[in-house]
Amino acid sequence: MNILLEIMLATPFIGGLLAFIGGKVHRWVRYAVAVTFSFLTLIEALVYYNATIKGVVWGSLFGSKLVLQTNPISWLFLFIVTAMSFLIVIFSIGDMEEDKIKLDSYYMQLLFVEGAMVGIVLAGDLITFFMFWEIMSWTSYFLIIYGGKKSVAAGYKYIIMSIIGAYSMFIAIAMLYVKAHSLVYADVAATLAHSSATFVVWTVVLLGIGFFVKAAVMPLHTWLPDAHSEAPSPVSPLLSGVLIKMGAYGLFIVLYGFLSVQLAGNIMPSVFSTPILLYIIQWLAALSIVLATFLAIMQEDAKRLLAYSSISQIGYVVLGIATGTSLGVAGGLFHALNHAIFKGLLFLAVGAVIYRTGTRNLSDLGGLVKKMPYTFTALLLGIIALAGVPPLNGFVSKWMIYEALLQKKEVFLLIMAFIGSTGAFLYVYRLIHSIFLGQLPKKYENVKDVPILMQFPIWVLAVLTIVFGIFPGLAMNVIVKGMKLFGFKPIAYTLFGFPQGTAMGALKVINISAVLVVAFVAAWVLFLILSKSRKVSQYDNYAAGQVVTPELKYNYSFGFYMSFGRVIKSILKLGIERIYNYWVDAAKVFGDYYMRRVYTGNLETYNSYIVIVVTIAAVAILLGGKLW
């Protein structure tokens, strides 16, 4: 049974290599291999449902054991990784066209990313974790830059920021190694338990920077909008749905696997009964929620909009995880799952639209609901889930986070979380309206819905939004069981929601959805018995008597929230990225200037360097080595 962990870890890597080799034979061999191996990984992952395995040693390095483990929380992320990867591989077959881009190594990289993420969630020690973390960074970098010219710059930004984040983690890991000489999670936890507050804070902060870069928590988010929007359509959901969750997973492991709320509370002051460190994380997350929402509202590019929305939604995940209460952490973890589902769905659906229309500029699209009804319906479910409207899954997890914050009286964070959710209405409506509603441009009159290979993953996810919305207990089974291992009090839940007492109110999504369905049917019946309506063309439209023609471009899409933009003008002006760019440019200019002054190319100068070194040595000698 335990050997399967290693097999599961190896499966995607082997699959990647085989897909690469198979692609040389025929492309369908490549597809078959990629699908088979990602499916195998998924099956292997499902075997571990709710299992807890500690410490499968698979090697050792520098005296620290390399360990694989799994527990229900890891399984939750494992499920996200493997399921999403499987669906994305299928979608890729439909979406990525051979003649447009060379796909020699695309599937290899895709499966490598999957393998790396499987490695991260299965890691039982920090070296394994860090190793797979880095592998994930560079493999996903190659995936991002498959998107063409613009994506190269985006990928560059991504990989540089990833490296910075990773090295920040690296310092923390090295500090821990030096202290304990073992980086197995349990040992790390034991070490931290006996360390000074400064050490703990530094460790968490340095690790946190690494996770926050990946999870794109402001102000370390600047790589995400570019990378997620410029990446190829099937890669964006992988990044947004899965990859940034690794940051959340890491944060969970650090905060509750290594540290614990009690321990953190003992060594640092508390605000609203939250250790100050967690409280700061919560604020960062809340700021991400609000600011990214504002930015998402103002986007003109479908994938950029979704990318900013990802920053905002991952803010909920981090906010929930950092609450430190059972309900909040469960909500955060549940939201990680939900976000993977609905954001994956949205990116895939938008990818389907791009596949058919070739543009992701919102103001170029419109009216596609008549041409792509299935994609529309799926995307509709996705945005309802994202906006946190019952009865779909996004609502339940957000509800849990709100209740947790309310219980802790962290009202300002709660207000920000609410605002982010209302703001989500704005941008999701913008998304669906500009793509599917409004006037259909004449050039898209022959657009068809996407083929079944692309529909399948979209609809699997669409069904999952409903399933996890109405039966949140399915996810809670895993989450609550897993959280028990991390020392949380289990929360009471039912299959359909939460009874009175878990939170400040009760929730039973099945009732909400049942009544909604009944009310809908009642209204529908009334609607049907009235006289039938006649379908009119989009050009038969009220324009104060003007005759609408395609040339009129009778559509409102560009600058959809322009008037709102005027309200938040001052907020939009805050550019964290500008500050970064300023410093990078300054460093470049400085570096270039001084490097040219040092390596002048002039032999006399170079020889004088030798003299200088000898002189320094001579001075050192004269001082009798007391120079230092």
Binding site: G59, S60, L61, F62, K102, D104, I127, F130, M131, F132, E134, I135, S137, W138, Y141, F142, I145, K149, V152, G155, Y156, I159, I160, I163, I164, Y167, S168, F170, I171, A174, M175, Y177, V178, K588, G591, D592, M595, V598, Y599, G601, L603, T605, Y606, N607, Y609, I610, I612, V613, V614, A617, A618, A620, I621, G624, G625, L627, W628
Partner: protein, 496 residues
């Protein structure tokens, strides 16, 4: 039956072939280029044959010239020396295979003679047991390298060769002065013997020769600010030569500094001084590399940076630090050696050394680009390549007894790693995803050249995925040096 596991052969064979090439050049004509291949194949066999001996005894010492130590010319191969000489022979071998297809300029026999001499000198430097031989090897190497750098005989190459000649000669002089001083103070040239006798020397008596030797070797070992010749010389030289210069020469010189410092000039205060040099080297190397447009110049600066990195690890003066340094040396030699070979093939195809002209090569020269990527990843220290393990080790070692300065150094190292990532990824993305503007007919490098690259790449991949033997071996080597087992071993084996 001659025992081929004799370190002297490592020097004798290539030296013999050098003269053979030089003499037979006039009548063997183009056939002469096969001789270095044979020489280094033999060298490789010899160095591999040394493995069991070294593993068994910890060290192999051979004396010659009919005297007994300490007066004999003796060769001492310890664990690290063995490893480096294997790499030197390997690099020499693959580079000479590469030369078969790469060098078409005349005078061929002179090139091959100098090339063989270069590697012979470097191997000599690595395995020598006395400091005068060290000087001789240093000079042999330098002379060969001067000639090779200027081999292309265009303006840049001549200028670079001249610069190198001047600076190298100064370095050689300093080295010689240092050696004379040591000799004057101790009356012996054998390293182990000196080590035994330095205990009663005053601080100044030790430090002065050290400053001289450090300066001399530092010029060859690319330590800032003594490395100014390097960014000119490496690009100017033919790629196979750059590969040797970058892959082995700096490593060998640093190795010599490490050995001398640990055995002779063993005073703690020195390490802080060395660390400053290492960090400066690192910073200036990596930052300069970032601004380069010329790919070989970029790699040359990157060599400086890498040197700084493993010199830093060495200057930690702990077993772990030294282990990290050795691992990084191995990583650097293999990766950088391979990178220069790959790039040489690409430059041949593209006809330019400008990075922008490499756009789109990833699609046309798949194998080359693949190995270039692997080399670059390993240098950047990305998992699962060997560079990752060595960087891990170095950082772990640096924070072992962390003080504020060391923590700051670690931050600098990691920042410079980011810079390193920045320029390597820039190169990679141009290669794999750039669009070729010019209409050049580019095809994959010839099989012979690829063979060299693939051999090095495979070795790198093997030690990347099975790092533990190398890591353990390096740990023992490092422990031996730090704990001075080197001296006791040498004494036991009659090195004295």
């Amino acid at each position: 039956m001659v025992n081929i596991a004799n370190p002297i052969l490592l020097v004798v064979i290539p030296l013999f072939f050098t003269f053979l090439i030089a003499l037979s050049g006039s009548f063997l004509k183009s056939g002469v280029k096969y001789l270095p291949v044979i020489a280094f194949a033999l060298n490789l066999v010899v160095s591999l044959a040394l493995i069991p001996e070294v593993v068994k005894n910890g060290m192999v010492i051979a004396t010659t010239a009919g005297f007994k130590p300490p007066f004999a010319i003796d060769m001492a191969v310890d664990k690290l020396g063995l490893f480096l000489s294997i790499i030197a022979s390997l690099l020499g071998f693959v580079a000479s295979v590469y030369n078969l297809f790469y060098i078409d300029e005349e005078p061929q026999e002179k090139f091959h003679a100098l090339f063989t001499l270069l590697v012979a000198g470097l191997t000599w430097m690595i395995i020598t047991g006395d400091i005068f031989n060290l000087f001789v090897a240093f000079e042999v190497t330098s002379i060969a390298a001067f000639g090779l750098v200027g081999f292309h005989r265009d303006k840049g190459a001549i200028e670079a060769g001249f610069k190198y000649l001047v600076m190298g000669s100064i370095g050689g002089s300093f080295l010689l002065i240092g050696i004379i001083m040591l000799y004057a103070a101790t009356g012996t040239l054998n390293i182990v013997d000196i080590a035994q006798k330095t205990s009663h020397l005053t601080f100044q008596q030790k430090l002065f020769p050290f400053a001289m030797i450090f300066t001399g070797l530092g010029i060859e070992g690319a330590l800032f600010p003594l490395n100014a010749w390097l960014p000119d010389a490496h690009p100017a030289a033919p790629s196979s030569v750059s590969s040797i210069l970058s892959g082995i020469m700096t490593t060998a010189a640093i190795y010599a500094i490490i050995r001398l410092t640990n055995t002779i000039f063993d005073f703690n205060q020195i390490y802080f001084f060395l660390m400053i040099f290492a960090l400066l080297t690192l910073i200036f190397g990596e930052v300069s590399a970032f601004f380069q447009k010329d790919i070989k110049r970029m790699l040359a600066y990157s060599t400086i940076g890498q040197t700084g990195l493993f010199f830093f690890a060495f200057s930690l003066n702990t077993v772990n630090g030294l282990q990290g340094a050795f691992m990084q040396m191995v990583n650097h030699s293999l990766s950088k050696g391979m990178l220069f070979l790959v790039v040489g093939g690409m430059i041949m195809q593209v006809g330019s050394r400008n990075i922008d002209d490499f756009a789109g090569l990833g699609r046309k020269m798949k194998v080359s680009s693949f190995f270039l990527a692997i080399g670059a990843f390993s240098l950047m220290g990305l998992p699962p390549f060997f560079g990752f393990w060595s960087k891990l080790k170095i950082i772990f070692a640096a924070l072992q007894n962390a003080n504020a300065f060391l923590v700051a150094s670690v931050v600098i190292i990691l920042l410079m790693s980011v810079v390193e990532g920045a320029y390597f990824f820039k190169l990679l993305q141009v290669m794999f995803f750039g669009k070729q503007e010019k209409d050049v007919a580019v095809k994959e490098a010839s099989y012979g050249m690829l063979f060299s690259v693939v051999v090095l790449g495979t070795v790198l991949l093997i030690i990347s995925f099975y790092p533990s033997p190398v890591i353990d071996f390096m740990h023992k080597a490092a422990a031996e040096i730090i704990n001075k087992n080197y001296i006791t071993l040498a004494l036991k084996l009659g090195g004295l």
